[in-house]
């Protein structure tokens, strides 16, 4: 299925916003995206007055695998070991949506044409929403890189932004995927070893606190994210349920010849509005709550990774100290041991300093993002709760929330509309 999106800044559903740095000397956005059979092509547009670039404005077309390549390049770069690497965007996944559309297409003869049209509309909206979200995730990734004073200067980043040709980065084959999987296992085993290593004392309270905090926080936010997803699914289910109810009520209304006719029609109309409402509630909760939780779940994982790297550096430092002591007692290769120890010490201190800064940034970023999204969530929920079905008067501006009295007016109209 093909889909295009002309992504202007206004219609981005992103719950994560990235405040550009003061100078805005590097602005990145995804100006267009096309969804083809099994891949999405993003058009990355850069506006920059940095001397490094050949032009001030240029765009390239990138696919998801190239984003992953960029992310991995950052992670593997020792220079950035003391920084939180922005989490990689998730792979665009239209499978579920596509399946549902196909099932609908195969047809269930029991549903009426109107019902079919509505369901198709719902599924298409869902597809579009997923599409928009994946664009937003990829965009946020790039924007965070562009906003970070150190990360934005990376050579690979420039290549990614500027190089007109395909980066020839194929997706990871099975061996690489397995390798990545094993590396993760090794990492967690290593982490366990380090933490249980005797003599390894955390010298800094700040980091001790951060570690305990992040471990617990990550687990809990992952939980919350999963459950928020389920709530969103339930809302969607409910919205879908209203379709056949509304249709059945309409046909009941057409059959009746008595006072129930208007009542049934009104109720059918009400359920139709409820359906749209539930759909909007579902998508708002998805954006403002689920997505935010999901993003910070990944971000907190990135922060955990940073802590691990620092811990590793600390362990190396400790080991270097021990080696130096041993060398001194044996009075052999003291020079190498000394220089190694100094190297480790400098590395560790460098990491600690930048990690501290990064973690504080992480906290403030998190707090402001939660604040923004929770406020928006509450406002949207209020807006939806206040919207009510119009009475018999067709509303001229259906989007504006009307007072709750309309509901009651509707009820009283049902009452009098069919008096004895």
């Amino acid at each position: 299925m093909e889909g295009r999106q002309e992504a202007g800044k206004e219609n981005k559903p992103s719950s994560i916003s990235v405040d550009p740095q003061g100078d805005s000397s590097l602005q990145v956005e995804i100006s267009d995206a096309v969804s083809e059979r099994d891949k999405v092509k993003f058009t990355v547009q850069t506006k920059s007055c940095l001397p490094h670039f050949a032009q001030t404005e240029f765009s390239v077309v990138r696919q998801h695998e190239e984003f992953i390549w960029l992310h991995d390049a950052y992670v593997e770069n020792e220079e950035y070991a003391g920084l939180i690497i922005p989490p990689a965007p998730p792979r665009p996944d239209f499978e579920a949506s596509r399946e549902k559309l196909q099932k609908l297409g195969e047809g269930d003869s029991s549903i009426t044409r109107e019902e079919f049209a509505k369901m198709k509309q719902e599924l298409e909206a869902e597809y579009l929403a997923i599409f928009k979200k994946t664009v937003a995730m990829h965009e946020v990734f790039l924007q965070r890189l562009a906003a970070h004073p150190t990360l934005r200067r990376d050579h690979n980043f420039f290549v990614f932004l500027e190089y007109g040709q395909d980066l020839s980065v194929r997706g990871k084959n099975r061996k690489e995927l397995l390798g990545g999987f094993l590396r993760n296992i090794v990492k967690s085993a290593d982490e366990a070893l380090i933490t249980s290593m005797s003599g390894l004392k955390e010298v800094d309270d700040f980091f001790e606190h951060e570690r305990t905090f992040l471990l617990e926080y990550h687990t809990r936010i992952r939980d919350a994210c999963l459950r928020a997803d389920r709530v969103m699914q339930s809302h969607k289910c409910l919205a879908d349920d209203y379709i056949p109810i509304s249709a059945a009520l309409s046909s009941l209304g057409t059959q009746e010849v008595n006072q129930l006719k208007t009542s049934f029609f009104k109720l059918a109309e009400l359920f139709e509005r409820l359906r749209k409402l539930e759909g909007r509630v579902a998508s708002d909760e998805d954006l403002k709550l689920s997505d935010m939780l999901r993003y910070y779940m990944r971000d907190s994982q990135a922060a955990k990774d940073l802590l691990y790297r620092r811990l590793r550096a600390l362990a190396d430092y400790e080991n270097a100290n021990k080696a130096l002591d041993k060398a001194r007692t044996r009075n052999r290769e003291v020079r190498t041991a000394e220089s190694n120890q100094q190297l480790c010490c400098r590395r560790f201190e460098r990491l600690s300093d930048s990690a501290k800064q990064e973690l504080m940034d992480f906290k403030s970023r998190r707090v402001s993002s939660f604040r923004k999204n929770l406020i928006e969530l509450a406002e949207l929920e209020l807006k939806h709760a206040k919207v009510s079905p119009p009475a018999s008067v067709p509303s001229c501006c259906p989007s504006t929330p009307r007072p709750l009295d309309s509901y009651q007016m509707l009820a009283s109209m049902c009452q009098e509309g069919g008096g004895p």
Partner: protein, 519 residues
């Protein structure tokens, strides 16, 4: 007796006129709204008897019963009375009443009067009331409640006993407020009795709630979980609605079985309602036989009204079934939403706990609280969805099945009439043959048979007319009730939705400042 039987002043509904008729008849001073229950009427029965005489009909069961139990005899007579009352209007318009002959001779009724003198005048009064209330639908001053489900016994012999409370000012009951304990099979027994008496003459008898082996087994086994409490509550509400519907039917309210059910403390155990009993199997066989017969009867419908109505009910049935299935899905999903919201609330609370930024932590805890309250809301809404909407639909699906049954009975009645006519024809042919063959003794026999079958044909025609008339009335009443029921429920349901929205607004409005307070 006869002298006193002046035609009551039909149509003006003034009870006071009766005073002139009787000897200080207290009961007739009671107006529509204040039906007294003072049992001091010496000879009230004359009036009902009068009604009976003007338009009684071929209610064969009544005749049969007259020969049997004396109590029921009177009861049947009173049924006759109320039976007439809905038909008062056609009589008022001085149409030639349908070809009916007064079947129940007043002499038979008269001796009974003393024993049950209380009921008759009240009934008559109520029939008066019925005339007045006819336009507004049936309104009787009786209220039934089913409450306090209690488990009696243990193991597989356990059962739930429900308290049936009646509040009434009708004088046919000995008290104005009383309650009895009944079990589910008692309700089924009541329904089967009423159905056997009234269904085949065209009355729409409200169906009883359905059995549920699974549900009951869980209760018997003693599982004290939410699903079995839900099951008991669902059943209790269904039984209450069933009784309310039954007593709102003017004819059924007169029935002594119904009165016995509501009043007497001990009720003979209705074993015939068990699914695996002999009676149960017989019922199933009969149902199958009926289904086959229905297919073979080809009725010449002379009245388009019936065909139209049957089609209408068939459509309505289909639509309601579809809607019901969708609403059940809605209820299920709303319950899921509620469960998921509760789970999310918990994890949001946990997240708030681990958050080290104080303001954000507080906001997250508040969010958790809001979500918990919303979960409650969803549960209540699901409850409303179910008990208002879904159960109404399933009740009406079963009621429409009863309506269809009544139409089928009419068909059977017609078939009987047809058969009688055919047999009469055959007997006439036989007579003609005998005339030709000149066999005097056989001729006499043939003539006798012809007379017999002529009577049967007449009876058949009368029955058919009667059932058709009853059905018309019943369907009218049913439709009016249906419109009222649906409208009431729709309004109540809308109100529940409004309530939910208002609560949501309150909750989110309380949360918003907390979110804004995150520094």
């Amino acid at each position: 007796m006869a002298a006193e039987r002046e035609p009551p002043p039909l149509g003006d509904g003034k009870p006071t006129d009766f005073e002139e008729l009787e000897d200080g008849e207290d009961l007739f001073t009671s107006t529509v709204s204040t039906l007294e229950s003072s049992p001091s009427s010496p000879e009230p029965a004359s009036l009902p008897a009068e009604d009976v005489s003007t338009n009684s009909n071929g209610r064969k069961p009544a005749e049969v019963v007259l020969d049997d139990d004396r109590e029921d005899l009177f009861a049947e007579a009173t049924e006759e009375v109320s039976l007439d009352s809905p038909e008062r209007e056609p009589i008022l318009s001085s149409e030639p009443s349908p070809a009916v002959t007064p079947v129940t001779p007043t002499t038979l009724i008269a001796p009974r009067m003393e024993s049950k003198s209380i009921s008759a005048p009240v009934i008559f009064d109520r029939s008066r009331e019925e005339i007045e209330e006819e336009a507004n639908g049936d309104v009787f001053d009786i209220e039934i409640g089913v409450s306090d489900p209690e488990k009696v016994g243990d193991g597989m012999n356990a059962y739930m006993a429900y308290r049936v409370t009646t509040k009434t000012s009708l004088s046919m009951f000995s008290k104005s407020e009383f309650s009895v304990k009944r079990r589910f099979s008692d309700f089924l027994g009541l329904h089967s009795k009423l159905a056997s008496k009234y269904l085949h003459v065209g009355y729409i008898v409200p169906p009883a709630p359905e059995k549920s082996i699974v549900g009951m087994t869980k209760v018997k086994v003693g599982k004290e979980d939410s699903s079995s409490t839900e099951f008991v509550e669902k059943r209790r509400a269904a039984l209450e609605r069933y009784l309310q519907r039954t007593v709102k039917h003017p004819t059924l309210l007169q029935d002594p079985d119904l009165r016995q059910f509501l009043e007497s403390s001990e009720l003979p155990r209705a074993v015939n309602t068990q699914a695996l009993s002999g009676a149960g199997i017989l019922r199933m066989v009969n149902k199958a036989a009926d289904a086959v017969n229905k297919m073979t009867i080809k009725m010449n419908e002379s009245d388009a009204w019936f065909e139209e109505k049957q089609q209408q009910f068939e459509n309505l049935d289909q639509q309601l079934r579809k809607l019901h299935a969708s609403v059940e899905a809605l209820v299920c999903h709303r319950k899921e939403l509620s469960a998921n919201t509760a789970a999310f609330a918990k994890s949001a609370a946990m997240l708030g706990n681990s958050e080290d930024h104080t303001a954000l932590s507080r906001a997250l805890s508040q969010l958790a609280e809001v979500e918990e309250k919303i979960d409650q809301l969803h549960q209540e809404q699901a409850f409303a969805d179910f008990y208002m909407f879904s159960e109404l639909l399933s009740d009406y699906i079963r009621l429409i099945a009863a309506v269809k049954g009544v139409f089928d009975h009419r068909m059977k009645c017609w078939q009987k009439w047809e058969d009688a006519q055919i047999t009469l024809l055959k007997k006439r042919e036989t007579e003609a043959k005998m005339m030709v063959a000149n066999k005097p003794d056989k001729i006499q026999q043939a003539k006798n048979e012809i007379r017999e079958w002529e009577a049967k044909v007449q009876q058949g025609e009368r029955d058919f007319e009667q059932i058709s008339k009853t059905i018309r009335k019943e369907v009218g009443r049913f439709e009016a009730k249906r419109v009222k029921d649906f409208k009431t429920v729709i309004i109540k349901y809308l109100e529940s939705l409004v309530q939910t929205q208002q609560q949501l607004i309150k909750y989110w409005e309380a949360f918003l400042p907390e979110a804004k307070a995150i520094a």
